[in-house]
Amino acid sequence: MTAPTTGKPETTASTATTSRSTRPGTRASTKIVVTGLLVVVALYFLVPVYWVVVASTKTTTDLFSTNGFWFAPNFALFDNIKAVVTYDGGIFVRWFLNSLLYAGVGALLATYLAAAGGYALAKYKFRGNGTVFGLILGGVLVPGTATALPLFLLFSQLGIANTYWSVLIPSLVSPFGLFLCRIYADATVDEALLEAARLDGAGEIRIFHVVGLRILTPALVTVFLFQLVGIWNNYFLPLVMLSDTKLYPITLGLNTWLSQVNRLPEFYQLTTGGVLLSIIPLAIAMIVLQRFWRGGLTEGAVK
């Protein structure tokens, strides 16, 4: 949204102030050089993804005997994908659904908790406000892996280690999300609007749900996406918590396949096929949701 407004004055100003005779020529050549540079960088970011697309269409023998950057004569993509989803009674599908459950439910609830907390810290002056915020901000800086080990011991004593809960419960807290919500609520939720709602006789909790959540929506989308990707990418927590392969998220599952390739080369096909299937939904989500990332991040950065 802000791109055209900041970009336009720059271009109009430059064409207006500099002489028109020299500018167009240098502009065109700069454009070619810069675009060429960006293409080279884009190749770097896309080559591994391209390789896995190519590799997942090959049989195991072709994988080692043909050029990695081009397709082999035998097109085995559908056989490979069938092998991936049917291996071990469809365990891959189960891992995928587990990841969806951990990331989807975890991010949704985490966003709600962060919104309520951030709104409370931004819109009420009460004793302990600063202390609570400082404590939570400290939580942003604590390495997630430092808490995972003691958390495992704690959950073992509570009897919930190696269950869905052991991964889901720690995913509900997003100190960074609360931080973003507080900044956004501070800047956008109008005090007069809240006072008006109070005069209408609405309770404080109701005001948050009806007025607060609606105004916070753009920030909530960003917090949700951050938490979704964070949980989906998390590896250390499930690795520490889970021993039952049926509860594994996709990251843990694919790594157990990769660790078997030295003994059983057919796991190369399973791993490349599985990686391809797991990247497709992420790639689509990243590209479709890109504008939401930008919007929310800008709001956070303006303050």
Partner: protein, 310 residues
């Protein structure tokens, strides 16, 4: 009750001494977050700090005669610091961070400037391509790059060989930089997006004024854009420093194809091994506390250093 609260609200919104709905409301709203935060952040941190000061001794050959716990002061910390593998893993991360973090932040900054300079075609498509790796989990990114590192499978090695160069991505001297490449690949786009967000928040009038003054694009970048994106650069650098000290998934996955990576290659890997392979939770707790402390000290040192400069 509610009617009296309403009147006191009308009289003055700042008087919230008594237990009115407005004084209870923030705690009610905060409660769910705080409960989970206490359970999954504060309690484990306290437990880690607590158990790092405790020594567990098992009586009998296999601990069959019972287990006793006693306060051991800094015994576990001494053990952790005497472990040369743990110390060298921290040194390895220093080396890694000093090289990888500046390269990544510089690359992210340059890409952000080029995409925002309006002198490139299809900026949206490029931005999407650079940001894509952030959505690929570290484990899967490592698996992807593993395929490009393993001899016999990697087309990159084939191409290099054809050009007469022998490359070994998984050797003792190179594997650290192979990991650095994976981390750079994963997070450059994310850092770039944060910098772009800050660039967009620069008011258009500043650019206009600069152009009226006849400033060159280079001068605009140096005198307006770089100073104004400094907060974003600091944020991304601090997150990268913390991330470097937490490195775990990438070396752990590469371990299965590279003999150069041992079970204590990074500080986190060392703590994980101490806890789950050696079952020594107390020393592992001391290691976790030390890692967190180093992350804190480095982040604050960096912030102090940059604040003093400006």
């Amino acid at each position: 009750m509610s009617s009296t609260a309403q009147t006191s609200e009308k009289a003055g919104p700042r008087t919230r001494r008594r237990s009115t709905p407005t004084s209870r409301a923030p705690w009610l709203l905060l409660a769910p977050f705080l409960v989970v935060f206490l359970l999954t952040f504060i309690l484990p941190i306290l437990a880690a700090v607590g158990s790092s000061f405790v020594q567990v001794t098992r009586k009998g050959l296999f601990g069959e005669a019972g287990v006793s716990q006693e306060f051991a002061w800094f015994h576990n910390y001494a053990l952790a610091l005497q472990n040369s593998s743990f110390i060298s893993s921290i040194g390895r991360m220093f080396l890694f961070g000093i090289v990888q973090v500046p390269i990544m932040i510089a690359l992210a900054t340059v890409l952000a400037f080029l995409l925002e300079s309006a002198s490139a075609k299809w900026p949206g498509a490029f931005r999407a391509a650079y940001f894509l790796p952030y959505g690929v989990p570290g484990v899967i990114a490592t698996i992807l790059w593993t395929f490009l590192y393993v001899p016999g499978l990697s087309p990159v090695i084939d191409v290099a060989k054809w050009m007469g160069i022998d490359v070994d991505f998984l050797g003792a001297g190179t594997v650290l930089w192979s990991i650095a490449n994976i981390v750079t690949w994963s997070y450059t786009g994310y850092n770039m997006l944060i910098i772009i967000a800050q660039l967009k928040s620069i008011p258009g009038e500043l650019y206009e004024a600069a152009h009226i003054d006849g400033a060159s694009p280079w001068r605009v970048a140096r005198s307006i854009q770089v100073p104004l994106i400094a907060p974003a650069l600091m944020l991304t650098t601090v997150f990268s420093i913390i991330g470097t000290l937490q490195l775990f998934a990438e070396p752990q996955v590469l371990m299965s194809v590279s003999p150069a990576i041992d079970s204590q290659y990074t500080p986190n890997l060392s703590a994980y091994t101490t806890a789950f392979a050696y079952n020594d939770y107390n020393v592992a707790a001391a290691q976790a506390v030390l890692i967190a402390l180093v992350a804190f000290v480095l982040s604050f040192a960096f912030l102090r250093l940059t604040n003093r400069k400006s």
